[in-house]
């Protein structure tokens, strides 16, 4: 029938097919960025997103802004919020009394000013009088009391109500004045109120299905956008609030689509299906930076990636010596980690507190990378060649395990004998390192973890070294117990005067740098990629972005 020649020809074709596929796969990095310059036909049948072009010349509102993000919308209930990626979406609809700006500074929002009483126990907030909720109800002190009471109610499904537990009472003075009373002086109150858990919702809205007092599915707030629809794992759609009290939102609709795979998100930017893409693949950062049709906005994680050193280790008693710990700080080089492993997505740390946080103090000093000094100090302390076991998480922070391996390499270069524990998933890692002291494995000499504070306050960042935070009560992975530090932090948390407080927080940082219970490495950043024709994305240094005022560049 068909000769051997025919069969051979087809075998050749088959091999060609394999090579073509392989070539396409390898070249995808290159061609993907090139294609973004050529005209790509927009797939038919989509929601007609104008992708930043072809929208308006005459000032009419542009249509739909599509944002591709990986984190699913776990909950729309402001009180139940626990992660910044979800919070920022709720915050397009629900506002709080205060907010943090792009420098991490505290700003008024629904409250215009606030003041603490002499004894620091009563805060009086003055509220705006020109705000209406999405359902037409008036924003006033009653609504503030209702929302905060709801947050503090133990039946409400709140995940992080602890930060607000200091509030003992919320009092309505009149329509535009509310008093918040705390158990003891609580200087961070205005700051923690900036979080969406303390967001103000319309009291009437909990009576409207599908909302109930305990569980809100369609939040009704005062924000620039209003809830339109939500389908799990698909998209959250919000529409512009044309009665918004502040700067009018630009796009008529924001569509937050859940796209779990980073490569798929990047592809959507190229096809025009998405206008803004959250966290594209790190490996694409170099090509995206070169690409002129793409604008990259870095977003900062609200904290630092650090290595806790077990200051009470019996497994490796040499770690109890602060000089040994300081030596380890000199041995780690965060710059090379950021450059080589994170494609530049990181800001080197200078201590326990990043610059975005209130109370950050440069004068506290920090450790320069100096391998020779490290070796010298280790030798002097009789610690050269010491054995340590290193616990590293995987899949939680960008290239976390690879970074851990690189750090182990840097420590080995100063003579240490480092054993890295095999990686586990993050929930297992957390369960292991935060288990109570009796059950905790006794070889956790070094452990890598990220630590911070969404409300950007130095006290919280340092609180992980307070003795109250020893596991399982908290996250004191260094098992650090220093009454001096405890006292400084306790006092800072009682001092309402901002200058005095900043001074105390600085003292706390000095103590931590001096004692070196941890190696503070860097603040991870991650990019948001968008078309370079768009501008106006707001990025807060606690890991959140706001696209409410994005417009043509």
């Amino acid at each position: 029938m068909n000769g051997v020649m025919g069969a051979r020809a087809f075998r050749a074709m088959a091999i060609a097919m394999v090579l073509a596929m392989a070539a396409a796969g390898c070249a995808s990095g290159q061609s993907a960025s090139e294609s973004s310059e050529s005209e790509v036909a927009s797939p038919a049948g989509l929601d007609g997103s104008p992708s930043g072009d072809g929208s308006d010349a005459g000032g009419a509102a542009p249509g739909t802004l599509t944002i591709a993000i990986d984190a699913p919308m776990d909950t729309l209930d402001p009180a139940a919020q626990n992660s910044t990626g979800v919070m920022m979406r709720v915050m397009t609809m629900v506002e709080s009394l205060t907010w943090l700006d792009e420098e991490g500074q505290l700003q008024p929002l629904l409250a215009t000013e606030w003041e603490a009483s002499e004894d620091g126990l009563t805060w009086t907030f003055t509220l705006r009088d020109d705000v209406t909720f999405h359902d037409g109800e008036t924003f006033n002190a009653e609504a503030v009391k209702f929302s905060l009471d709801r947050l503090l109610d133990p039946d409400t499904e709140a995940a992080q109500a602890g930060t607000f537990s200091q509030i003992s009472e919320v009092r309505v003075v009149d329509d535009t004045h509310v008093e918040i009373v705390t158990d003891s002086p609580y200087p961070v109150l205005p700051r923690v109120l900036s979080q969406p858990m303390a967001g103000i919702i319309s009291p009437a809205s909990v009576e409207v299905a599908p909302n109930t007092l305990a569980h809100i599915e369609e939040p009704v707030g005062t924000g620039p956008y209003m809830f339109e629809s939500h389908s799990a794992d698909e998209a959250l759609v919000v529409k512009a609030n044309r009665n918004y009290w502040g700067d009018a939102p630009t796009y008529e609709t924001q569509r937050w689509e859940i796209i779990p795979d980073a490569s798929s998100r990047q592809a959507m930017l190229q096809t025009g299906e998405a206008d803004i893409v959250w966290n594209p693949p790190a490996a694409s950062l170099p090509s995206l930076t070169e690409d002129e049709s793409v604008r990259l906005e870095p977003v900062e994680y609200p904290g630092t990636l650090l290595i806790n050193i077990n200051t009470q280790s019996d497994h490796q008693p040499l770690l109890q010596d602060p000089e040994v710990r300081k030596a380890l700080s000199h041995a780690v080089n965060p710059d090379v980690l950021i450059d080589q492993l994170l494609s530049g997505a990181g800001i080197p740390a200078h201590g326990p507190v990043p610059s975005s946080m209130f109370g950050d103090c440069d004068e506290a000093g920090h450790y320069e990378y100096d391998r020779d000094l490290a070796r010298q100090m280790l030798a002097d302390a009789g610690a050269d060649g010491m054995e340590v076991t290193f616990y590293v998480p995987q899949g939680r922070y960008l290239n976390d395990f690879t970074v851990g391996e690189a750090i182990a390499g840097q420590l080995r270069e100063v003579g240490l004998d480092v054993t890295i524990k095999p990686p586990t998933d993050f929930a297992t890692f957390l369960g292991t390192v935060w288990s109570p002291l009796g059950e905790r494995p006794d070889d956790i000499d070094l452990m890598m973890i990220g630590s911070g504070a969404v409300h950007l306050d130095a006290s919280k960042a340092m609180y992980n070294f307070h003795s109250e935070s020893l596991p399982p009560n908290g996250y004191n992975g260094a098992l650090y117990e220093n009454p001096q530090l405890d006292e400084v932090l306790n006092e800072a948390d009682r001092t309402v005067n901002t200058e005095e407080r900043a001074e105390l927080l600085c003292e706390g940082q000095r103590i931590l740098i001096e004692d070196a219970p941890a190696i503070w490495m860097y603040t991870p950043t991650f990019p948001t990629a968008m078309s370079s024709e768009l501008d106006g994305l707001v990025s807060i240094p606690n890991g959140m972005i706001f696209a409410n005022w994005v417009d043509q560049a």
Binding site: A7, A14, P43, G45, L46, S83, A232, E257, A427, T428
Partner: protein, 307 residues
């Protein structure tokens, strides 16, 4: 036959109870605390304790077990620890998408695979055969993660024919279906081919062929009947896999299916969702297996179960 079916259904009960129990225990044996995950990375001890209480995790394990099992039999699958919505609503929101993708992929795979396989057999050792066999090998060996991304690069980014992610329009179905059925096409083509080859080698074929071209219809008819049993087996087996195991395809194409829900729920230690999902899978698989066996007996009268 009825007695057979009845017996199978009765035996299904302990199997399902066993599957549910194992999934209950497994989730509690692996390290990780749902309350801790839910409270978030910087939460306080008080928050974690309160959540444990709200999630019912502070009760004894026996209590929790009986609550779970009792709930299953009354249709109360519990509340998701992650979203605080009912587990049933979480699953039902994804189920139609998963079933749709599974049905589409299976149909495409059966049609394309059978055609390829039969053609390959008729054209044995010829061009068509080599082509079909090569395609089968590709399909069976290429990981969905890779083929999916390649489809995106070719058809979405370069050609702009189909969208990348989501499930809004009919165009959104093309690439995920192609990716998911790619493997099955290979598998089914091979089965169809060998069944067809077997038919072609039978004695009666020689006499049928002697009668002329129209006899081809009869031959292919025979071949298909021969192939139908293994193909029905594949459909039965693969349907279950597709329903729960399409997570890679669902992730790449942002298809809101059950696979993603389950993987997410395991990472976040969302016990109620994982337990309920495994229970439902066990039930679904038992039903699918039973239906497959009944169809066998219908298709091939030589098969008898009542002994």
């Amino acid at each position: 036959m009825l007695a057979y079916v009845g017996r199978r259904l009765i035996l299904a009960v302990p199997t399902v109870i066993g599957a549910a129990t194992i999934s209950f225990l497994l989730m509690r044996v692996i390290p990780g605390d749902p309350a801790q995950v839910l409270a978030g990375p910087d939460a306080q001890r008080a928050d974690i304790d309160r959540l444990r209480q709200q999630l019912g995790l502070d009760e004894s394990i026996i209590e929790q077990y009986f609550q779970f099992m009792g709930g299953l039999f009354t249709g109360d699958l519990g509340i998701s620890a992650r979203t605080r919505d009912s587990v049933l609503s979480e699953i039902l929101a994804r189920l139609p998408y998963t079933l749709e993708l599974a049905a589409l992929s299976l149909s495409v795979a059966v049609l394309v695979g059978t055609t390829l396989g039969v053609t390959a057999a008729i054209n044995r050792n010829g061009k068509m055969d080599t082509f079909a066999s090569t395609l089968s090998v590709f399909g069976v060996s290429m990981p969905t993660y890779w083929s999916g991304l390649l489809f995106i690069i070719f058809f979405s980014v370069h050609l702009g024919w189909f969208p990348v992610g989501g499930a809004e329009t009919w165009q959104h179905r093309i690439l995920p279906t192609a990716t998911l059925s790619f493997f099955l096409v290979g598998y089914i083509a091979r089965q169809a081919r060998s069944a067809m080859v077997e038919t072609l080698e039978m004695d009666f074929i020689r006499s049928v062929r002697a009668k002329g071209v129209s006899s081809w219809r009869v031959i292919i008819g025979h071949g298909l009947r021969n192939a139908s049993l293994p193909i029905i087996t594949i459909i039965g087996l693969q349907f279950g896999t597709l329903v729960g195991g399409a997570v890679l395809t669902e992730t790449i194409f942002a298809w809101p299916g059950l696979g993603r829900l389950i993987v997410q729920s395991i990472s976040t230690r969302d016990f109620p969702v994982v337990q309920a999902s495994i229970f439902l899978f066990a039930v679904a698989l038992i039903v699918i297996n039973l239906v497959t066996d009944i169809i066998y007996a219908y298709v091939d009268p030589r098969i008898r179960y009542d002994r």
